[in-house]
C-alpha cells in the first residue's frame, strides 16, 4: 500500500507515534530465519520494487514524513553538529541533491517537482511548502548548506562516504535518528574504524569482504541491506549525544508494558554511487514497530521470539538489550507454539 503523509506525531515526550494497519503491513521485517546470524546480506536495490513496498523507490516517503521532518528540526536546533560536511564533500553533496530531487520528483510527482533549465534549478516540495530556485553546484544560492538543505526534506539518516585508497571515509552526513552512533564522533573515520565497536564480525572477515564489494559499486546499481535492533519507546533519536535522555528508558520495561514499550527498529540501508564525485551515498531509513503491532502478524511474532531467544550474548550486549532481553523473550514466548 502506498502511504500518504499524516499529521505530525512525536518521537519524544508523549510519544504519539503510531503505525496504521497499512504501515504495519509494509514494515520491512528483517529476519529470513529463526536464528539471527551475521552475513554480508547485501542485495541489489532494483527499482521499482514491489508496488507499495518500502523497496518500491530509491527513497521511501511514507505516512511518517511530516513527523520525521519535525523531529529532525528539533534535533538540529538542539545540536547543529548532527549535520556536517567537510569542505571537500561539496560536490558529493550536490550529487546527493541531484539524486534525491530527481528520484523524488519522478517517484512522487504529487508531492515534489523539479524544473531544470541548464544550471538553473527550481524545486517544489509541496509537503513542506518549500519552493526554491538555485544554481546547480553553487552552494551560495541555497538557503542552507547543501547537506542540511536536502537532509531536511528526506526521511532517514544520510552519510556521504568519500572513496580513496580503496577505502571509504565518513566525511559528510545528517544523522538525527541513529541507533546509538554519533556522526560527530565518527566523522573522518575509515570504514573499519567506524565499525570498530561491532563484535565478532571483524574476526569473521565480514568487513574486508564488504569493503571490497562497496568500493566497486558502479553508478546506477545501488545495493541495500537491512539492519536491526530494539528501541524502548518510539524514539528516533537514540544517539550518544542524547544518551542521558533515553538511556534510562531501558529500565522502564516491565512484564506488563513490553508490548507498548519495546519496538523493533529496522534500518533499510542503501548504498548508491554518486556519479560526479565518485562518493558513496549511504542512506539509513529507520522504521519503528511496537511489539504490540508486531505480534498482529503471527509469523513475525513466532520468529521474533526465536531470534531473540537464540541471540548470542555478545550481540545482546552490543545492541544494548541486556536490561530487558529476558522480559522481551518471556513476553514473546506466548506467541510461539514451540514453547
Amino acid at each position: 500500500m502506498r502511504m500518504s503523509p499524516k499529521p505530525v506525531q512525536t518521537f519524544r515526550d508523549d510519544f504519539t507515534y503510531s503505525n496504521s494497519p497499512g504501515a504495519i503491513a509494509r514494515f520491512p521485517f528483517p529476519f529470513p530465519e529463526d536464528e539471527y546470524r551475521y552475513s554480508v546480506n547485501i542485495e541489489p536495490h532494483v527499482t521499482p520494487g514491489p508496488e507499495g513496498s518500502v523497496y518500491e523507490f530509491l527513497l521511501d516517503i511514507d505516512e511518517h514524513y511530516l513527523s520525521e521532518m519535525a523531529e529532525r528540526d528539533i534535533v538540529l536546533k538542539e545540536n547543529p553538529q548532527r549535520c556536517l560536511a567537510m569542505p571537500h564533500m561539496d560536490l558529493a553533496c550536490w550529487d546527493m541533491i541531484e539524486r534525491c530531487m530527481q528520484s523524488l520528483a519522478a517517484d512522487y510527482p504529487q508531492h515534489f517537482s523539479l524544473t531544470i533549465d541548464g544550471d538553473q534549478w527550481t524545486w517544489h516540495n509541496r509537503l513542506l511548502n518549500i519552493h526554491d530556485s538555485f544554481t546547480f553546484g553553487d552552494s551560495s544560492t541555497l538557503p542552507l548548506p547543501p547537506m542540511e538543505y536536502m537532509g531536511r526534506q528526506v526521511q532517514g539518516d544520510f552519510a556521504l562516504l568519500d572513496q580513496r585508497d580503496g577505502d571509504l571515509f565518513l566525511d559528510a552526513g545528517i544523522v538525527t535518528c541513529p541507533a546509538d552512533w554519533s556522526l560527530a564522533f565518527d566523522a573522518g573515520m575509515s570504514f573499519s574504524e567506524w565499525h570498530g565497536p561491532v563484535p565478532m564480525a571483524h574476526e569473521m572477515g565480514v568487513f574486508d569482504r564488504a569493503l571490497k564489494y562497496l568500493t566497486a559499486i558502479p553508478v546506477g546499481r545501488p545495493v541495500r541491506r537491512l539492519n536491526w535492533t530494539l528501541t524502548v519507546n518510539a524514539r528516533m533519536d537514540t544517539s550518544p549525544e542524547t544518551y542521558p535522555n533515553w538511556g534510562t528508558d531501558r529500565a522502564s520495561v516491565t512484564a506488563d508494558n513490553v508490548g507498548e514499550k519495546v519496538h523493533l527498529r529496522v534500518e533499510l540501508q542503501v548504498l548508491d554511487r554518486m556519479p560526479r564525485s565518485n562518493a558513496l551515498m549511504f542512506s539509513i531509513r529507520t522504521y519503528l514497530l511496537s511489539f504490540d503491532d508486531l505480534v498482529t502478524n503471527p509469523d513475525w511474532a513466532r520468529r521474533m521470539h526465536r531470534v531473540l531467544k537464540t541471540l548470542p550474548p555478545e550481540l545482546v550486549e552490543y545492541k544494548g538489550l541486556g536490561r530487558y532481553h529476558d522480559l522481551a523473550v518471556e513476553w514473546l514466548s506466548r506467541f510461539d507454539p514451540a514453547n
Partner: protein, 316 residues
C-alpha cells in the same frame, strides 16, 4: 556487451596529435550519464576475428553530458583496438559503450594536486582540470610527450593554465627532472600519474625515495592486458574448453565463446571479474587480489592474469 551498454553515435573525429585521434560520442537515445573526473568507458569494437573491448578515459568536462570525448593513441603493436578506432571508425558510425566507471578519481581533500601525464595519459586529466578549476583547487600539470607522436591538447592547455602548465617535449630534448618536481612540496600535496608503466614506476620510486607516503600517490596504467603463452581453460560447470591465444586475455577468450563474466575496468583493478580456480597454477598480474589470495591460488582475475602452465580449470 552487458545489459547496461549505451549506444552512441560518433559525432566528430579529430586528429589531436600525430598518433592520437579524438572521438566525440553522442547518445542515440536521451542523454549520457554524469561522470566523475578520471572515469573511463569501455568501447566495444567488432573486430575481424573477435569483438575487442578497450577502456578509454573520458577526456571531456564532466559538466558536458551532451557528449563524451575519448582520445585514442594508435599503438604500434596494436592488439586490434586502437588500429580499429583509427582506420575503421567514421563520423556517423554507431558504437556501444559501457556506463562510466572510475578507479582514478581525484583526492578531493588534497590541498594541492600534481598531475603528471605521459603521452596519451593526458586524457583523464582533461576531465580533472575543468572540475579542479570550478572548485578553485590548487594544481599543476606536468605533461611529458613526444611532439612527433603525442602531445594532444598542449597548446590549449598552455593557454588555459598559464603558470600551472609545464610541458616536456622529449623530441625537443626537454626532460622532466622528477626529483625536482617532487621535492619540497607542501604538506597535503597529492601526485597523480597516468602514462606508460615506466613513467609510473619512475614517479613512484622517486617519490618513495623522497619520503612521500603511498597514500598521496595515485596512478592509472594503460589497461591493455599484456600477451603471454597460449593455454587452455576448462570450465567445470558448463563442461566446455576455451583456447586462449597468446595475444588475447582469458576474459576476451571467454567472451568470444559467449561466456559472460562481470567486469568494469579490464585492467586488474576493480575486482568484478574474479573467478574461482579449481585446478592449475595462475600467473597473477592484477592489483586487486591480496598477497594471501594470490598465494592461495583459488581465484584469478581473467582480465589480465593467465595460466602459469598450459591449462586452468575454472568454476564457470
Amino acid at each position: 556487451m552487458s545489459i547496461d551498454s549505451i549506444p552512441v553515435r560518433v559525432a566528430a573525429i579529430e586528429a589531436v596529435a600525430p598518433m592520437i585521434r579524438e572521438f566525440r560520442l553522442e547518445a542515440i537515445d536521451g542523454s549520457l550519464p554524469a561522470f566523475s573526473p578520471g572515469s573511463h568507458v569501455q568501447v566495444a569494437m567488432p573486430g575481424e576475428q573477435r569483438e575487442i573491448r578497450n577502456a578509454y578515459s573520458l577526456c571531456s568536462d564532466p559538466r558536458e553530458t551532451g557528449s563524451y570525448r575519448i582520445a585514442v593513441r594508435l599503438q604500434e603493436d596494436s592488439r586490434g583496438g586502437s588500429a580499429f578506432m583509427h582506420s575503421q571508425v567514421s563520423v556517423g558510425d554507431r558504437l556501444q559503450i559501457t556506463p562510466p566507471a572510475n578507479f582514478f578519481a581525484p583526492a578531493w581533500h588534497a590541498r594541492k594536486h600534481l598531475l603528471i601525464a605521459g603521452g596519451v595519459g593526458i586524457t583523464p586529466f582533461m576531465s580533472y582540470i575543468p572540475e579542479l578549476e570550478r572548485q578553485g583547487a590548487d594544481f599543476e600539470l606536468h605533461y611529458l610527450y613526444r611532439s612527433s607522436q603525442t602531445g594532444a591538447y598542449r597548446d590549449e592547455l598552455m593557454h588555459r593554465l598559464g603558470q600551472a602548465f609545464n610541458g616536456y617535449d622529449s623530441d625537443a630534448g626537454v626532460r622532466c627532472d622528477l626529483s625536482v618536481l617532487l621535492s619540497n612540496r607542501e604538506p597535503g600535496s597529492h601526485v597523480y600519474i597516468c602514462g606508460p608503466e615506466s613513467l609510473i614506476e619512475g614517479v613512484r620510486e622517486t617519490a618513495r625515495a623522497l619520503g612521500w607516503p603511498e597514500s598521496l600517490i595515485h596512478y592509472e596504467a594503460f589497461a591493455a592486458p599484456e600477451p603471454g603463452e597460449p593455454f587452455k581453460a576448462k570450465l567445470v560447470r558448463s563442461g566446455r574448453a576455451v583456447e586462449v591465444a597468446a595475444d588475447e586475455s582469458l576474459l576476451e577468450a571467454l567472451e568470444r565463446e559467449g561466456i559472460e563474466v562481470p567486469n568494469l575496468c579490464r585492467g586488474g583493478v576493480c575486482g568484478q571479474c574474479v573467478t574461482s580456480v579449481v585446478e592449475g597454477s595462475v600467473e597473477h598480474r592484477d592489483d586487486f587480489l591480496s598477497a594471501d589470495e594470490k598465494a592461495s591460488g583459488t581465484c584469478i582475475m581473467p582480465c589480465v592474469s593467465r595460466a602459469a602452465g598450459n591449462h586452468l580449470i575454472l568454476d564457470l
